[in-house]
């Protein structure tokens, strides 16, 4: 008896239509300004905050999140050390994660957060609040340019994050803070 794999592949081979060409996707240029990125991000519930320089990060974080007790970060000495072996119950208590991102997309307010920058895969969604640190020079206009510039392809795991976790599943009323981070600030330097 043939396997499901063989049967599916054979059926796909037998039933597929005549080959059609794979199109080349043009590079649609567009606006990659910080202004555009900030406007779009604000429209989806996120926020941009300016950093004078990366060395200001820690003081800015404490100023913007005075209430945050357990802060995880790879960019300054954190109040809670997280790595990929951190147990779930510790992760569950994180108030704020401050993580670097590789690029930002002006058309939709998304930033690329690869696994290597996450400390733990669950950290960006399990943390109550999320701050992502972006070099202004790494802004691109559209998703086409973003995918072309992913430093390490998709990596083992990586996500575009556009704003805080949200839902409109109850009568289409927008609620920020569904399961993931309740707020998202992109700190731009």
């Amino acid at each position: 008896m043939s396997t499901a794999r063989d049967r599916i592949l054979a059926a796909a081979r037998a039933n597929k239509p005549a080959e059609t060409p794979l199109p080349t996707v043009p590079d649609f240029w567009g606006d990659n300004s910080l202004e555009r990125f900030s406007t779009v991000l604000a429209s989806i519930g996120g926020e941009v905050a300016q950093l004078a320089s990366l060395s200001d990060l820690e003081t800015t974080v404490h100023k913007l999140w005075p209430e945050a007790k357990l802060i995880a970060s790879s960019l300054f000495t954190p109040t809670l050390r997280i790595d990929q072996h951190t147990p779930t119950d510790v992760l569950a208590d994180v108030d704020l994660a401050v993580l670097p991102v590789e690029l930002g997309v002006a058309e939709n307010g998304a930033v690329w957060l690869p696994e290597a920058n996450m400390l733990h895969r669950a950290l960006p969604t399990v943390t109550q609040h999320l701050a992502l640190v972006l070099d202004e020079r790494c802004l691109v206009a559209t998703m086409h340019q973003a995918y072309a510039r992913l430093p390490d392809g998709p990596g083992g795991y990586g996500m575009f994050v556009a704003g805080p976790s949200k839902t409109a599943d109850i009568e289409q009323s927008l609620v920020i803070g569904a399961h993931g981070a309740r707020s998202l600030v992109v700190l731009v330097y």
């Binding site: 307010g109 795991y157 976790s165």
Partner: protein, 460 residues
Amino acid sequence: MSYLTHASRAEAFTLDHERTSWHDETLWFVRQKRDKAVYAVPEFQELRNLASAIKDHTLSRLDEYLAQFEAAAQANGVRVHWAANAAEHNAIVLDIIRARGATRVVKSKSMLTEECHLNPYLIKEGIEVIDTDLGERIIQMRDEPPSHIVLPAIHLKKEDVGATFFKHLGTAEGLTDPQQLTEAARQHLRAKFLAGEVALTGVNFAIAETGSVVVCTNEGNADLGASLAPVHVASMGIEKLVPRLSDLGVFTRLLARSATGQPVTTYTSHYTKPVEGREMHIIIVDNGRTQQLGRPDFRASLKCIRCGACMNTCPVYRRSGGHSYDFTVPGPIGSILSPNIDLKKHSTLPFASTLCGSCTDVCPVKIDIHVQLYKWRQIVSEANHLPTAKKLGLKFMGRLLASPTAFKVSGMLGRKGLRLLPYGLTHNKTVNAWAIARELPEPPKQSFREWYAQQAQPAT
């Protein structure tokens, strides 16, 4: 065996006039948000063409891309499984869960697992399955199927959700504030995420060249589940493939704008390799898809990226509700997918359309939905699945419209009859379905042809 028709199921939904109007207006509002987002992208129509061509190409080499995807995923340390049908899929999922001795499963949205009826199967086997998308969790508590593929609980009002959470989550009686209800669900589901042993997700896109699967959510539930549980199982239909990572540039620009009018979903997550010491499985499912691939008139339905735009725009869907379709995927796209699965059972769905073509106009991958609806009607008719009244009616109308004399005479009889016959007869709801919720037009004194004959001949 006889099945309830779409119309008779819709009747139950339309009994509540206020709710029907609310449903109609709410989905139309989503359609308007879609338009606003789409018009803001100058190259949107070009993106639709590209998406359509990429999907056409992928289907034309589907076997090769499936093999390429499998090899790439395996090289990434992912275990790839194949399931010819729903039963095989469900058995594979159960095997993976049992192999870990697990009982607690957290699941994010997957229309494929709905199609396979995975939840009831696992629950019967003693597995706790928690749907973690808020809308899906609400309807899971109520033991209802989703009524929309993107907005699963769109048939419910906040009062319904409040009552459901009062019963299942112990929230205050009469609580209807969406913010507070969502917070209650967040707390409840957080505990489930933290305790999850196996995470199930669907797949929005699978990339042949990298072996990755991409999952799009707004809530972050897929990521919380898959990143906390030691085992991640992603179920995908064979049609989810795209050849290249760069193709996602096209599809991520189309999906959320078409679905809800957002510029992109909050999380667009790319799962390629499992963390060391953890497991990632991908189940590739056929379940009727290769058969649809072999139907030249209908194979384009496999290009669907499940955005739901065709539902939001459909005047029939908006006024009849998702449950009236009695199929995993409702609305226009469901009405062209379902006859492939069971022609007799779903024989009324291709007729649940005005053939206005709005679905085709908004489809981000340019599926000719209304043309396929029309073509399925022919097949339903040839297979003799039309109700007798409809069959006779169509035959009669066919003859009448083919004969100028019969057309002329019947027009005259109609105009006279409407004037002379009692209202109770012309508007009898059993005989005349049109009159159930509508008045017939005032009969004109003469026909167009009569009027035209009376006009002075144009000067030559």
